[in-house]
């Protein structure tokens, strides 16, 4: 039986409207054969986690440009745990200073892609690290 397609939620939390990156990633993942759900802009962590659980995704990719990453990533991860969906992996990208990355990983973020990352690197990372959830 063929393995089921990976399901990825691309999410844009916070108030900034910079969705160029999120949309490019969403398209690139879809072109790579994944099922992609894009939340649209201005989502709260609650809205994102609800969508992830409802859509039964394997991972969430968060795109953050507003500088609110140290608030929003932990909020999403805590809510996932609360909803007993802690096995949904969280990765992300955007304007995130290098110094913040170790702390984010400690908090449970699987990977951070900074400006200049290619969509192919991201696709490859997902294929290597994300498995369809049982």
């Amino acid at each position: 039986m063929p393995e089921r397609k990976l399901r990825i939620l691309v999410a844009k939390p916070g108030l900034d409207g910079h969705d160029r990156g999120a949309k490019i990633i969403a398209r690139a993942l879809r072109d790579a054969g994944m099922e992609v759900i894009y939340t649209g802009l201005h989502q709260t962590p609650e809205m994102i986690v609800n969508a992830a659980v409802q859509e039964d995704v394997d991972a969430i990719g968060l795109s953050i440009m507003s500088g609110a990453h140290m608030t929003l990533f932990p909020a999403v991860i805590d809510l996932l745990k609360e909803q007993k969906a802690g096995d949904i992996e969280v990765f992300g990208g955007g304007i995130i200073p290098d110094d913040d990355i170790p702390r984010l990983k400690q908090l449970g973020v699987s990977e951070i892609f900074t400006p200049g990352s290619s969509t192919q690197d991201i696709v490859q990372w997902i294929r290597q690290h994300i498995q369809p959830r049982a």
Binding site: D16, G17, A28, L41, P97, D98, D99, P115, G116
Partner: protein
Amino acid sequence: MPPVRRSPKKLRLVKSPRTARPTRAKARKPAPGAKKGRPALRTYDAATVRQLASAKRAWERAEVARSIASAPSRRTEFMTDSGIPVPTVVTPAERAGEDLGDLGLPGQFPYTRGVQPTMYRSRLWTMRMFAGFGSPDDTNQRFKYLMAHGTTGLSTAFDMPALMGYDADHPMSRGEVGKEGVAISTLRDLEILFDGIPLDQVTTSMTINASAIVALCMYIAVAEKQGVPMEKLGGTIQNDMLKEYIAQKEWIVPPRPAVRIVVDMIDFCSRHMPRWHPVSISGYHIREAGATAVQELAFTLADGIGYVEECVKRGMAVDDFAARLSFFWDVHNDFFEEIAKFRAARRIWARVMRDRFGARDPRSWQLRTHAQTAGVSLTAQQPYNNVVRTALQALAAVLGGTQSLHTNSLDETYALPTEESVTLALRTQQLIAHESGVDRVVDPLGGSYYVEYLTDEMEKRALEYLRRIDEMGGIIRAVEEAYPQKEIGESAYRYQREVEQGERLIVGVNAFQSERQEPVQILKIDEQVAEGQIARLKQVKAERSSAAVAAALARVEAACRGTDNLMPPVLEAVKAYATLGEISDVFRKVWGQYREGGIF
């Protein structure tokens, strides 16, 4: 409706600016394809063009063919970033139809060569550095620092909660207070922001849109407290809602009521604030979202046409407000194409205003613009390269004839810029202004075969988009149907693919990478900013009269539901210390919260 040309009042070209060329244009009877309504004033006479065309064909067969045989072209075809074909060399042979009436002299219709006759010889462009972060006190200090270092106009960045109409204590504001701009919830914050800055002596630009009406009213109220009447206030408020739905995506209510507020503000300013620009029609965000230069040009002009149409529908006379409209362009990497964009924009706008809207006042025809170097072109890799990118882009803006300019800092792919990096960005402009010599002559690239070719091509392609948008029923309709949004999404994806496939080289990213990490300092915004802002908000709420606030908000709501201009009741509400969030809540209550679907 396509633009209809009327005959110009008078063609005031006294002589050809191209005295060094082999031939001089003479006014002659209209050539085939000449612009209707006035005789063509050909730059090159037919005999010269024929002679050159034949010489060029021979050159292609001989020299070019030999050269390619020994050193083949690096690409099969060369294109500008917008996809305009780039010839090996442009000569008068390709410029046979060039008409000096399309250029005019600087300060003359159609302003291709600049809106002022003497440009930077009389006054340099305004070096306007965008700033705003943290608390109002933090930004106040940055303003004073920039003024001490020679910046000539203030430019305010607001934080995301302020842009979306939320106060600092709203749940949606978590983690965002003071991060991407200065935090503002009440008039008290603006009083601190402009403390010690005499508002009759500076011009201020405010980058705020969905909640622009609140910010402008707060600014008027602060000035009043300084004893400066609104008639004396000079500056610009971005207030371009159409580009928000297209690209920047900071909104409160749906497009139609949002545009109604914009028109209220244009109307109010045209009556009471003669030195204020009530809208800055912005291509910057459209470009940053992934548009090509042609798309930026077209969608921005379409937005401008949309506002003028709405004002005219309201019964305003075009010459009463058009001179106060201003523009804002992005300046990206393709040097000549960017210069051509500025020139084409001025020419299209002049004709649209005169011929389509019947404006009579030459100031209504003149497209005045601010420009900013392309934030999206900056790279996190080898950040010092960004200084060079920014310098080239800034030079293009100056050669394009901008009226004011912001230059980005090298560290902006990481965070908001530090004081040191902002200073270097400002110095870049000062070097161009005072050392490069480009300030001494007006439109030095006018008459360049290539730049004139690109200017014509940009114009042609932008007019094609404008025609399509007119056919769709205008820009508001097009935005509701997400037409510009989809076009931009396609271009953004294509650009990314070109970079990843190596068709487009970005130094330090997909070529010439280096392992060495160049450390840059990062400006961090403390979470204490949010706590401080929330505390001040609480205090303001405790001190104000809740009855006065409720009454003022009720008057705002009544104006929203009716047709009265919203400026007076909003001004009254901010003076009563109603918060930005409370006033925005009234808008949400009356018109609903706008949401965009998750299309990609």
